[in-house]
């Protein structure tokens, strides 16, 4: 699940822990003002129409077929080509994590305890050929996600809708019908879920709800030419080489207030070397003045970008919505004892670990699992040590717990030099507290396989997460509930199972009032830290640069802090 972690960090939908600590940025980069920080301006952005935006990328999109899009950069780009029932608002910072209606007239109406959701489509919506967008097309798009041939998308509709398990998608089962979705008329769509989905407004913003007209479906080939319902259509796309988008004249901007779609054309160039992309953006010559990248600044250029005022002014930095943490396996000695885990919370040298990994450009110190860029975040620090660790206190607690001579624990570490460097700093920092750490190097390609197998995992493992949508519902349940523990592909790497926690999780998932749900999630976050299940380390940050003529380059939190492509403009 990891490739070129230094560059592709924010492209991952998940599992950022390894990558976050593998990042080797220069030490001591100053803390830049975050353009996508918490609670900033709630004013929608506005830009100038016209021009060509160029996207420089080290790789082609994983996928553009709405059934297969999952990672952040593809999701961000997909908003240029197709619309979904709801979509993210065009505001920097936390307000940008709120959804607004897009194809739908509202954020959906819940019934049956949030198990049933009804949406109505706006009138007069059209595809790139002028034909009408219907609710049946949205249903067909959802049906496609059930096909074995298109397995890559976000697994919500195809695991939660009624009909899951029996329906096999429109290719294997052309006469079949997905029972979980009803379309009583061309502008109404009703979803029936097996469990409450209070967060439907967010799920409806996933590419899964993009309409796909059956007549235009080309199966696996649809990836190369998704039919446009959005502001642009594909003029040319050669996989692995380039893409060019031109305006879809049938798209009505009045029906999509959150989508600016300012440039007249968008060009993408793929498979460029990361160092060359930096060179081009730093040089800022000619056409590159209207260019951006979906990658991050290379480690060797971090100092220049964060210190040269002219370049810094063009930099995009802010939270990427990720959290990285070290989990303690709560099922095995010595971390089966709460007191030992709490001692570890006090002992852990967060500051030294971040410094060894590259410094402050990696992110801000974390005290919770729910990041500050989610509305459920609560500010608390149950083990205050100023992030330096308090070995004396930890040693005392270990002794009180019956380990006066300390304990020996294993720490799983990816075998890249940068990860091993961080692990060595952690080992050195934990030693005075009485934690004798044995570093277990794991080949990078096998890292997630190994730590995702509870029988094989070391006592301490590094992990990370980006939510699928900006709500704690895609953070806490998949990471810490009893049901998330799997013999393989385990995401609950602390193997934490607490019935009380699970009950709260079920309650929050069924709570349709976002504020009330946030209250419960926040309570659960504190519960995790009281139980000392994990050591939160960093709220991750991105650092990227744009050409001098690109405006509205705020990082969009729903897309891992990458530039909101649907609202960027060029001069």
């Amino acid at each position: 699940m990891s490739w070129s972690p230094t560059r592709a960090r924010t492209r991952l939908p998940a599992l950022v822990g390894l990558a976050a600590l593998a990042l080797t940025a220069a030490c001591g980069g100053s803390t830049t003002k975050t353009s996508s920080g918490t609670g900033e301006s709630a004013k929608p952005v506005a830009g100038k129409k016209g021009g060509t935006l160029t996207l420089l990328s080290s790789a082609d999109f994983e996928h553009l077929d709405p059934a297969r899009v999952y990672v952040t950069n593809s999701s961000d780009f997909s908003r240029l080509i197709y619309r979904t029932l709801t979509t993210y608002d065009n505001k920097p910072g936390l307000p940008g994590t709120q959804v607004v209606p897009d194809l739908a007239t509202d954020l959906g109406t819940a019934s049956d305890g949030a198990k049933t959701w009804t949406f109505h489509l706006k009138p007069g919506l059209k595809y790139e050929d002028g034909t009408a967008i219907t609710s049946q097309d949205i249903k067909y798009g959802v049906e496609r996600t059930f096909s074995d041939l298109l397995p890559e998308g976000a697994p919500y509709f195809n695991t939660l809708l009624v009909g899951t398990g029996t329906y096999k998608g429109p290719y294997k089962d052309p006469k079949g019908d997905l029972k979980g979705v009803e379309t009583p008329d061309a502008t109404t769509i009703i979803f029936h879920f097996m469990k409450p989905l209070a967060d439907m407004r967010y799920a409806a913003a996933l590419p899964t709800t993009a309409p796909v007209p059956k007549a235009k479906d080309t199966g696996v080939k649809y990836d190369a030419r998704p039919f446009s319902s959005g502001p642009y259509k594909i003029a040319n796309y050669t996989r692995g080489k380039s893409i060019s988008l031109v305006r879809n004249t049938f798209w009505d901007p009045k029906s999509a207030p959150a989508i600016g779609a300012y440039p007249d054309t968008v060009e993408g160039l793929f498979n460029l070397d990361g160092a060359t992309i930096d060179q081009r953006l730093l040089a800022d010559n000619g056409p590159d003045q209207t260019a951006i990248t979906d990658g991050q600044v290379q480690p060797e250029n971090v100092v220049k970008v964060t210190t040269d005022p002219a370049v810094k002014a063009r930099s995009i930095t802010g939270f990427d919505n990720s959290v990285s943490y070290t989990a303690m396996d709560t099922t095995k000695a010595p971390f089966d004892k709460l007191a030992v885990r709490q001692a570890m919370e006090y002992a852990y040298p967060k500051f030294a670990a971040r410094l060894a990994g590259g410094g402050s450009s990696l992110g801000d110190f974390a005290n919770s699992v729910i990041v500050p860029t989610l509305s459920a975040h609560k500010d608390f620090d149950l083990y205050p040590t100023g992030n330096k660790g308090d070995p004396a206190k930890a040693k005392q607690m270990l002794a009180a717990a019956g380990f006066p001579n300390g304990v020996t624990v294993t720490l799983g570490s990816s075998d890249t030099p940068s990860s091993l460097k961080v692990s060595a700093a952690v080992k050195a920092g934990l030693a005075p507290a009485g934690f004798n750490v044995t570093i277990v190097p794991i080949p990078t390609a096998k890292y997630y396989d190994t730590i995702g197998t509870p029988a094989k995992q070391p006592n301490l493992v590094n992990y990370g997460w980006i939510p699928d949508w900006p709500s704690a519902s895609t953070v806490l349940p998949p990471l810490f509930t009893c049901g998330a523990i799997k013999p393989q592909g385990n995401n609950n790497v602390a193997n934490y199972c607490n019935k009380e926690f699970d009950a709260l999780s079920d309650k929050a998932l069924a709570t349709t009032d976002p504020k009330a749900a946030d209250e419960i999630w926040g309570q659960m976050d504190q519960m995790l830290l009281k139980d000392a299940v994990i050591i939160p380390k960093l709220y991750g940050k991105v650092l990227s640069i744009a050409g001098s003529k690109v405006k509205n380059t705020y990082g969009a939190l729903p897309f891992g802090g990458e530039v909101d492509l649907a609202n960027v403009s060029v001069q």
Binding site: P151, A154, Y171, K221, T276, A283, G489
Partner: protein, 328 residues
């Protein structure tokens, strides 16, 4: 001659088969499952199995190898239900990532690699051989020493350094556009101007070998008796060096040139990456990052084909150009 060619072609096919087996084996020794790439973070065992089935990874390695080889001769079908895509023979496999036959990808990328290879080959032969000639004719002098010095330096510089330096100096500092590939048919001038950097980079590094080789061969040849005879007959020095000296120095140059060009036609990985040229080298890197075995296999086989063909062609030309060699 016919028997010789037949024998060589048989050997070529056997070697290609060996390359195929080795590449296949190496891929399966990598401790990672390509199906996990598509399975996402909530990867259930059932979903993983279904993806492995889609990618054909659920069969044993020998069975997968068998299907691959069969596909080369009779083609293969991919997909299921109403979505079946036929990959016609010779089917080099089907890309895990972009769901298309590998051969099409290679055909699409080859013109880029070919353009880079041909242009840089012309440059390095021109520079390499001419500077080698000058150096040999002025052997021992300051010009010779300078040329040999430059050649040694350029030989020891890594491609990524030369490429990056060109970009920094000419594009970043002096404002020349960063190159991108333009089709020859669409815009021949744009094609050439965008390829100047890759051509110069490769020529700079490759020509050093030709300089040194030409120099050595020429210095040796110019001391032969027949050169003295030619001079004794009163031939002008230009004619002595050009007609008699250079001709004797040529065969080893042809051998090296053939092998270099053959290898380059398989893809100039680093050069293509630095300059963003979407050729076979770039395709190879991406297929490695994506664990995209069929593409990797296809590109490797294609590259191996050129190396082996170049060997064969070089041997034949060598035989024809040197009367002391007979091909049996």
């Amino acid at each position: 001659m016919t028997r010789y060619l037949l024998r060589r072609i048989t050997a070529l096919i056997a070697l290609m088969a060996a390359v195929l087996v080795v590449t296949f084996a190496i891929f399966f020794l990598i401790p990672s499952n390509p199906a996990l790439r598509s399975c996402g973070r909530y990867c259930s065992p059932e979903k993983l199995l279904s993806i492995e089935h889609k990618l054909g990874l659920d069969k044993s390695v020998p069975a997968q190898f068998g299907s691959y080889v069969a596909g080369l001769f009779v083609g293969r079908d991919y997909g299921d239900g109403t979505q079946v895509d036929h990959c016609p023979a010779p089917c080099l496999g089907y890309s895990f990532k972009t769901d298309e036959p590998v051969l099409g990808l290679i055909v699409d990328r080859f013109p880029v690699t070919f353009s880079i290879a041909i242009g840089s080959a012309v440059l390095w032969v021109l520079f390499g051989v001419s500077s080698g000639l000058v150096s040999a004719l002025k052997a021992g002098g300051n010009v010779d020493k300078t040329i040999v010095g430059v050649a040694t330096t350029s030989l020891s510089l890594p491609v990524q350094l030369v490429g990056a330096a060109l970009l920094v100096v000419f594009s970043a500092k002096l404002g020349a556009p960063f190159p991108h590939y333009v089709n020859f048919a669409d815009d021949p001038v744009g094609w050439a101007t965008n390829l100047i950097f890759p051509w110069v980079t490769l020529a700079f590094i490759y020509s050093a070998v030709y300089t040194r080789l030409t120099r050595t061969q020429m210095v040796e040849a110019m001391q032969e008796d027949y050169i003295r005879t030619a001079r004794g007959k009163g031939l002008p020095e230009r004619r002595v060096a050009g007609r008699h000296g250079l001709r004797a120095a040529l065969p080893p140059l042809i051998v090296v040139f053939g092998l270099d060009l053959g290898a380059l036609l398989g893809g100039a990985i680093i050069t293509e990456r630095i300059f963003g040229m979407p050729g076979l080298g770039n395709l190879a890197i991406q297929s490695i990052l994506d664990l995209n075995l069929p593409v990797l296999l296809g590109v490797t086989l294609f590259g191996a084909f050129f190396v082996l063909m170049a060997n064969l062609v070089v041997d034949v030309i060598y035989g024809l150009s040197d009367p002391k060699v007979t091909l049996k």
